[in-house]
């Protein structure tokens, strides 16, 4: 556990050198938040003031919280592992006396912690000033929400890990990574709450880990899922995390064996 | 007397450097990378522009080529104002930055040449002749179809130089062209450049860390330090002035603890219990051959090597000599 903590801190440090880039990213997240909130509020207004349990205020809140979580959850790109596989550097990771998946997860979480406040606070602040935020008044949803965010970030990592592993077998990975971004973009609740999906799309989403990355944490933080329902959401997230991480380990082992046997 | 191909007068370039001071505040200091530089280069000359890292070499070259605006002073290159008349100037000069590629990394060399010919609007009828000459002289034929990113450093640099010469520029500027190259590649490049100069009379300006480059390719040396010109003359003149010594390392078959004195040379060290001896000398006082002969009379020589003075050392000596105002040769 101490090793894990050290790796998390290291991941945090690596990202703290990019201050201006972080500010720029937060600004862009905020402007997109404004556009997204306008779209959700517009749709809710067109539906007569309420849409799948969201009113104008909670709909806007949804958009702002999602924007605040984009950077920590890392929606758009993670190809660190793929690059190391392509360059053969993954052999170094294999030689280290620690589990590679565990080490990369620590780095991913460290980055998320670093981004949490500087990338998360500006969209929330803008939301509070522009549309107002509908947030619960009791502490419990926030405590559970924090757990849910950590699980969401970890699920995102586990899926990125799996996508990156394709580098063991494919030379050009951009197609696979783009596919992951697209799936995440549609199914995680990034742009439209999953609760708005037509039945067929909702079923598709429920069969994937993507809603566990964004929709789940937002549901818990805003107390849309409360009490046992919230625990249920956390359980679903944890189950996806365990499943995808395990799958990632198996595939990694296959890839590593290929590397050892065929020499890359 | 025709107009010099490069004319630099009181050239100065400042940079603002911000360093963190405390958590949020930053101090702002103005640093002069080039500080009152003046020199002329005649058409057809071959000049080595040397100095330590950060002495202002690259900054000067950027101002000569129109990439950077001077803070003060004037530059004329090929009779043009490099920044205002950048595009006109680009047709008359070729520039190679050893550590930065100007080729298209994912295109084959042949394709890069075609693109450059189009960029320089070279006549369709004549440019392939020039290309073939360069390909032949630089031995590029084998990898013309290879994407640049797959070339070795030596191959890439040769490609870069061919690319810079494709439009037959009057002035060729090379920034550290031999950096990182192996001995053989360096040698090939030097032979080629000397030959091009002889054939086309191209003016050559070269920055380098390699004394051999300077010795083999140039007939005039400019030494810059802290943005100022500290020496302008020939290479032998420079080594005389600072007393830059070559060192001959002699390995003997049998240890001889003391070889005694050798005329014109200074014994620097005896190592490995008398198996290895080091003699420092300047070409003005004696030759490597004379030392070898003197040593050979006293012991059987198994191997020898000559260490050239390095540029950092020469510049340091010049600098020390200047601040003391005494005989540079006496500097430690």
């Amino acid at each position: 556990m101490r090793l894990f903590a050290t790796l998390v801190v290291l991941g945090f440090r690596r990202w703290s050198t990019y201050r201006l880039a972080t500010a720029a990213g937060a600004f862009t997240n905020t402007v997109f938040g404004l556009i997204k909130a306008s779209i959700t509020v517009g749709a809710i207004g067109a539906a007569g003031g309420e849409l799948a349990g969201y009113d104008a205020q909670t709909g806007a809140t949804y958009a702002w919280i999602v924007q605040a979580l984009i950077a920590p959850v890392n929606v758009f790109n993670w190809n660190e592992l793929a690059l190391r596989i392509r360059d053969g550097d993954v052999a170094i990771d294999l030689a280290r006396p620690m589990d590679p998946q565990f080490a990369y997860l620590a780095g991913f979480l460290g980055r998320a912690i670093h981004q949490f406040i500087p990338r998360g606070a500006p969209p929330l602040l803008a939301g509070a000033l522009i549309t107002g935020l509908a947030l619960p008044a009791t502490p419990l949803p926030y405590a559970l929400g924090l757990v849910s965010v950590v699980l969401g970030v970890s699920v995102s990592f586990s899926v990125w890990w799996l996508a990156n592993l394709a580098a063991f077998w494919l030379i050009e990975l951009r197609g696979v990574l783009t596919l992951n971004v697209v799936a995440m973009g549609i199914l995680s609740g990034l742009v439209i709450p999953v609760h708005w999906f037509p039945d067929w799309l909702a079923t598709v989403a429920a069969l994937t880990p993507y809603p566990s990355m964004l929709q789940a944490p937002v549901d818990v933080i805003t107390a849309r899922a409360e009490g046992t329902a919230a625990l249920g959401v956390l359980a679903v997230q944890a189950a996806w995390l365990a499943g995808v991480l395990l799958l990632g380990r198996l595939v990694f082992a296959r890839g590593a064996r290929k590397l050892v046997v065929q020499g890359g | 007397m025709t107009e010099p191909i490069i004319q630099v007068r009181d050239l100065r370039r400042e940079f603002v450097v911000r360093t963190p001071a405390g958590r949020l505040r930053r101090t702002r200091t103005v640093v002069a990378a080039v500080d009152g530089l003046s020199f002329d280069l005649a058409e057809g000359a071959a000049v080595g522009y040397i100095g330590a890292n950060g002495a202002g070499k690259s900054t000067t070259i950027k101002m000569l080529t129109g990439i950077l605006v001077p803070t003060a002073g004037t530059v004329r290159t090929c009779g043009l104002d490099p920044v205002r008349q950048r595009r006109e100037l680009a047709r008359q000069i070729g520039v190679v930055f050893g550590q930065r590629s100007q080729l298209w990394w994912d295109l084959p060399l042949a394709e890069s040449f075609r693109a450059l010919a189009a960029i320089h609007r070279l006549p369709e009828a004549s440019w392939p002749v020039r290309r073939d000459e360069l390909v032949d002289r630089l031995d590029l034929g084998e990898f013309l179809a290879t994407p640049v990113r797959q070339l070795s450093l030596g191959q890439r640099i040769r490609g870069e130089i061919a690319a810079a010469l494709l439009h037959s520029p009057r002035l060729l500027i090379l920034d550290e062209p031999t950096i990182g190259l192996d001995v053989l590649s360096k040698e090939r490049l030097r032979v080629f450049l000397a030959e091009q100069r002889a054939l086309h009379g191209t003016t050559l300006l070269l920055t380098t860390h390699d004394m051999d480059d300077v010795q083999r390719l140039t007939d005039r040396v400019l030494v810059v330090d802290h943005g100022r010109l500290v020496y302008d003359g020939t290479l032998p003149g420079l080594t005389t002035q600072v007393g830059a010594e070559r060192v001959m390392v002699v390995d003997l078959v049998e240890p001889v603890p003391d070889l005694g004195t050798v005329d014109g040379a200074r014994r620097v060290a005896v190592e490995s219990d008398g198996l290895r001896h080091r003699f420092a000398f300047t070409p003005e006082r004696t030759t490597a051959g004379a030392i070898l002969e003197a040593v050979g009379r006293r012991g059987q020589v198994r191997d020898l090597a000559i260490e050239e003075p390095d540029i950092e050392d020469v510049v340091r000596r010049l600098y020390l000599a200047q601040i003391r105002g005494d005989d540079p040769a006496a500097a430690p």
Partner: protein
């Protein structure tokens, strides 16, 4: 004229060839781009799975807005989108190489890449446009035919100009270049929706500062004879060419200033 353009023809041609050399990865990139186009449209689809109108537009009209905006943006992205990577060009010394060649730097930057894979998104937008157009009840006149033909071109010009503006600003920002994404990609995103859903300040921002509304929404109001939000003059829908000219004027002035800043301060 042909001779003047020869360098650019050769440059663009060699860029295109290099991309299609590796056929399999090119096809997979192309499919990725199609998927991104579909993802963007999925959002509009899901909204209209819940409501019948958004910002006074029905699904067919909203799809028309989306399609026109996205044809324009994806074309601009294909042609000039790489200008958004200016910091990479600065870091790798590519811009210095441009400065050492006898051609205008901006022209070299633009012709230094053509991301053919982005054709995937262009194709998706064109298909949506082709489907959405007949679904709308348009009283065609010669002027409207001219407008629908012109709109994708002016939209391309507006977004391309925005990319150049962004590149110009990036000369100063470098590390913080993502700031500009709020206006380029943000503008593109906003332009795909009826501007009537935005608050007045945002509508003004995306009309007169970042002229995204000119790329689709305002022309569609004219095509469908709709009034739009109160206070929106109807003739504004014809002003897209003016918006394009204005964006490019700012872009070229900004680029000049940016390049001056670069050669003035060095890297």
């Amino acid at each position: 004229m042909g001779e003047r353009l020869r360098p650019y023809r050769v440059l663009v041609g060699s860029r295109m060839r290099s991309q299609t050399t590796y056929r399999r990865s090119f096809v997979s990139d192309l499919l990725g781009s199609v998927a991104i186009g579909l993802m963007e449209f999925a959002e509009v689809y899901v909204v209209f799975a819940n409501v019948d109108v958004l910002g006074d537009l029905d699904f067919a009209a909203a799809a028309l807005v989306f399609a026109l905006a996205n044809v324009g943006f994806s074309m601009a992205d294909l042609l000039v989108g790489h200008a958004d990577n200016l910091p990479v060009y600065l870091r790798e010394g590519t811009l210095d190489a441009f400065l050492l060649r006898p051609l205008p730097v901006l022209a070299q930057l633009i012709t230094s890449d053509v991301s053919l894979r982005r054709l995937g998104r262009v194709a998706v937008s064109v298909v949506i446009l082709a489907v959405a157009l007949p679904l709308n009840d348009i009283e065609w006149t010669a002027a409207k035919v001219a407008l629908i033909a012109l709109t994708p071109l002016t939209a391309t010009a507006v977004f391309a100009g925005l990319f150049v503006c962004a590149a110009a600003v990036q000369f100063w920002l470098v590390e913080g270049s993502e700031f500009t994404s709020a206006f380029t990609y943000g503008g593109a995103y906003a332009s795909g929706y009826p501007a009537s859903i935005f608050s007045l300040p945002m509508r003004l921002l995306f009309t007169f500062v970042v002229p995204a509304a000119f790329t689709a929404y305002l022309p569609v109001l004219v095509l469908l004879d709709l009034p739009g939000p109160p206070g929106t003059p109807h003739w504004l829908g014809w002003c897209a060419p003016l918006a394009a000219v204005a964006v490019w004027a700012v872009a070229l002035l900004g680029w000049r200033a940016g390049l001056r800043h670069y050669t003035g301060t060095g890297s």
